[in-house]
């Protein structure tokens, strides 16, 4: 059964161009020039994917995505727009309203591969057997009330002040937020929740709060502190590398990619502590036997033996379940052994792949290390030439 994609744009010529592009594919494509028409269609039909423009008369793309999310929450929502008002766009991405945002004019091949990548990842993570396995491991962390309230505020375009007030109402979370913010984001030294919100952006703050439950439960697990330090370093390192490569700062909605990419490991540590410890022990034993220069990912090999599902899948499952931006989910899934043909945002994955590897090395966490794919790094941003700079940078963060 082929997937159904609904395209919505008030310009017939855009719809025609898209129709031509998707003609040769296996998707069933529907075309609407009014959001209202699609809503009507959805009353007795289902779709799998929505690709919509933002600036439309009568019902704009944002309103349409909200409506579709309400009616059929499993639909993958993608925005395709020439609209350059970044605030609205980023808000849509941040809040998970749009999983992907593609600018007009687009490249035909890229558009196809991005949509395909998104669908593929979504299918993998929506696989019921995966859910079963993860459920079998342990109960999923609950979503804090605070998170829903903040989401609400963000959608109403509340000010940082209002959100700060809400966060401050829970001093435990406020405290944790500040601690996390100050260690995982370079240059942030603040005691003010409001300032943290302004500097990190509301979406990142929201994600920190959302995932905090996992971090919290894992806090006393063995290696948790190391893994936490590793994640903070990688978060800062990725921001640094991004600015080195592209001369500007990391887009907000990718800001927690480094922080979240090993979430699966921490989750594992809390729900299957024994297995987790056994696995690490086994890796350490294996490391002693093999040559020290051998950079093979022993952890990955053994993880498959010990567990029905590996931590990158677990991590990306959780992040997907929480509807974090797609880029972050991809990173969590692919950071160890990136397969380019499966990845949409190769540049970001490559950056995290490199920085995480360097960070594991720097912290002496050889148990968790994996082999660096230099080819992949160089093909997507020419990254290995920055490796030394990253090492120095992360080292300097450690000494501070």
């Amino acid at each position: 059964m082929s997937k159904v994609i609904a395209f919505v744009d008030d310009e017939q010529q855009i719809l025609r161009a898209l129709k031509r592009l998707f003609f040769q594919t296996d998707y069933t494509c529907l075309f609407f020039d009014k959001g209202g028409d699609l809503i009507q269609y959805l009353e007795s039909n289902k779709i799998d994917i929505l690709v919509t423009d933002i600036r439309m008369p009568e019902m704009d793309g944002i309103a349409l995505m909200h409506a579709v999310k309400r009616m059929q929450p499993k639909v993958i929502r993608i925005a395709l727009s020439g609209y350059t008002d970044s605030r609205q766009i980023l808000a849509a991405l941040d809040s998970g309203l749009a999983r992907l945002y593609i600018y007009k004019p687009w490249d035909n091949d890229q558009l196809l591969s991005k949509i395909e990548g998104l669908i593929r990842m979504n299918d993998q993570l929506a696989d019921p057997s995966l859910l079963q396995e993860i459920n079998g491991l342990g109960s999923l962390p609950t979503i804090p009330d605070l998170y829903a309230k903040i989401t609400d505020l963000i959608e109403k375009e509340a000010s940082a002040q209002e959100v700060a007030r809400l966060v401050d109402s829970d001093p435990a979370i406020a405290g944790k937020l500040l601690r996390i913010a100050n260690t995982a984001y370079y240059g942030l030294h603040t005691g003010s929740v409001q300032q943290a919100i302004v500097m990190l952006g509301m979406s990142n703050v929201r994600q920190i709060i959302l995932t905090n439950s996992v971090f919290e439960r894992a806090a006393y697990m063995p290696y948790a502190k190391d893994l936490w330090q590793h994640a903070s370093l990688v978060n800062q390192g990725v921001a640094y590398l991004y600015s080195l490569c592209y001369g500007k700062s990391l887009p907000n909605h990718q800001g927690t990619a480094g922080l979240m990419h090993t979430l699966g490991l921490l989750f594992l540590a809390t729900v299957k502590t024994d297995l987790y410890l056994e696995l690490i022990e086994a890796v350490e034993k294996e490391l002693q036997h093999s040559q020290t220069d051998n950079n093979q990912s022993i952890f990955d090999a053994l993880e498959t033996e010990f567990l029905p599902v590996r931590h990158p899948e677990i991590g990306s499952f959780l992040l997907n379940w929480w509807e974090l931006p797609f880029d972050i989910i991809e990173v969590a899934y692919h950071y160890r052994e990136p397969k380019p043909e499966l990845i949409v945002n190769k540049e970001l994955v490559a950056m995290v792949h490199l920085v995480s590897h360097v960070a594991f090395g720097l912290l002496g966490l050889t148990q968790f290390q994996y082999a660096l794919d230099k080819e992949f790094c160089d093909a997507n941003g020419n990254l290995t030439r920055h490796q030394l700079a990253i090492e120095d940078y992360l080292a300097s963060l450690l000494t501070n």
Binding site: Q13, S81, K104
Partner: protein, 469 residues
């Protein structure tokens, strides 16, 4: 008898001197001369060797000798008497700080409490001295002094009254000098402030223009990105089609026969053949659209149009503005253009008129959006032009913009052209737009602007521009 007579003449002379000084001080044409003259008069009268004035510095720690008169043959001390510490002479200051005159009849008789003072005076061979305090607002600010190296006890107690009047005159002169200095400084500060305000004003106006251009650019970017989007996509698609057709053509050329077609091949080929014309026409339309909007942008924003006063086509101006904001017009229920042709060209700063049109039309659209946030189809914008004569019989062109937006209350109407007055949310309006419109219409073009509005119903803004300057 003689003694009394003498003392009386002595007193008269002093009074004459003091009133002479007073007259001089009142006129104060040349303060330095007047002060020096006063020192000399009193100095000579009292047979002083040196007369001097010390002024305290603002820090209240140091004082400087600022004026001096020396008897013939007496050396000047003024130059080395700078930056003296006030609290080196505590007794001295204590005597005069309430405004009393200090009459040191005999230096040698000064007690232990005036140790420092006695030392200094004896060092200079001063036998007696008279000190008058300079007061400003009840606080000691300096003093006038007369030193005598020849004799002691020159001043009689009954002279003190006249001398205190003289002291007050001295004080008032210095107060007046300091007041004048303050006024001068204040004037300088005001001049600086005025300059920076002018700068600020220019900056704000420029910023307002940039904000307008920014808003413009966002809309225009969207307007260009859409046609560019489908043109580029179609071009790629066309490449695909071409490859497929090439395949068939090459097959035919090689084999000199028609290829066998499967069902899916047939389906594909049919689709391509049927679609080909549409692809080309879509591409063409898209490129024409891009060309049009760029042309309008160019016309709209020609920098020279801002400073050149030349013939301006009102109809073209309105049309260009509408092209630029096309994306905001989508969904609008009705857009009526009543352009009374032919409209004469008017003499104007074209760029500025464009700015006026943009401001007014955008405001109208905003008002409509506020009144009909969920049903843009009810919005109605009407733009009319006509030629007529105004009340002074000048030939004018009238541009009227009518909307059925939220309208204005009387309060808003009255404040409409006030700089920084805005009814829009923070960040959504600088509040300068209408004041700039006003300035451009009334000041730059000697035109008129008429506002009619009813709350909840709509607004009509009429701009009248003279055809000739």
């Amino acid at each position: 008898m003689d003694c009394l007579e003498e003392r009386f003449q002595h007193r008269l002379a002093l009074e004459r001197i003091v009133s002479g000084i007073a007259r001089n001080f009142v006129m104060l044409e040349n303060p330095t001369d007047s002060i020096n003259h006063a020192l000399e008069e009193i100095g000579k009268y009292s047979r002083a060797s040196r007369a001097y004035i010390f002024e305290f510095q603002e820090d209240g720690i140091f004082m400087n000798n600022t004026y001096e008169w020396c008897r013939e043959g007496v050396a000047s001390e003024m130059e080395r008497l700078q930056n003296q510490k006030i609290n080196s002479f505590p007794w001295w200051m204590a005597q005069i700080k309430e405004g009393d005159i200090l009459n040191i009849k005999d230096v040698s008789k000064l007690g232990d409490e005036a140790q420092a003072e006695r030392e200094i005076l004896e060092l200079q061979s001063v036998k007696s001295a008279l000190i008058m305090p300079l007061m400003q607002r009840g606080i000691l600010n300096g003093f006038v002094g007369f030193d005598n190296v020849d004799a002691t006890g020159n001043w009689h107690d009954e002279d003190m009254t006249v001398l205190s009047i003289a002291a007050e005159f001295f004080s008032s002169v210095f107060n007046r000098l300091s007041a004048e200095k303050e006024i001068h400084n204040a004037k300088k500060e005001l001049e600086v402030s005025l300059e920076s305000l002018k700068h600020l004003q220019a900056q704000l106006i420029q910023q307002e223009q940039l904000v307008a251009i920014g808003q413009l650019a966002a809309g225009v970017a969207h307007e260009i990105n859409n046609p560019l989007g489908f043109v580029m996509s179609n071009q790629k698609t066309l490449q695909n089609y071409a490859n497929i057709l090439k395949g068939y053509a090459e097959y035919c050329l090689e084999r000199n026969e028609k290829p066998a077609l499967s069902d899916s091949d047939r389906k594909e080929l049919t689709y391509i053949v049927e679609d080909l014309d549409d692809v080309f026409s879509d591409i063409n339309e898209g490129l024409v659209r891009v060309k049009k909007i760029i042309k309008s942008m160019r016309i709209f924003s020609r920098i020279d149009r801002m400073t050149d006063y030349e013939p301006y086509d009102v109809k073209e101006g309105i049309e260009n503005t509408l092209v630029i904001i096309k994306s905001r017009l989508s969904g609008l229920g009705a857009l009526k253009l009543n352009i009374d042709t032919p409209i004469p060209m008017i003499q104007a700063y074209g760029g500025k008129i464009n700015q006026v049109l943009l401001n007014l039309i955008v405001n109208a659209l905003d008002a409509i959006k506020e009144a009909h946030p969920n049903s843009p189809g009810e919005g109605c914008l009407e733009i009319s032009t006509r030629t007529k004569r105004d009340k002074n019989e000048r030939k004018i062109v009238e541009i009227q913009i009518v909307d059925n937006g939220i309208g204005m209350t009387d309060e808003v109407k009255n404040k409409l052209f006030m700089p920084f007055y805005t009814t829009k949310k923070i960040g959504k309006g600088t509040g300068l737009g209408m004041s700039i419109v006003y300035d451009i219409v009334k000041n730059s073009h000697a035109g008129e602007i008429i506002v009619e509005s009813t709350e909840g119903v709509g607004t009509s803004i009429t701009v009248q521009l003279p055809v000739n300057s």
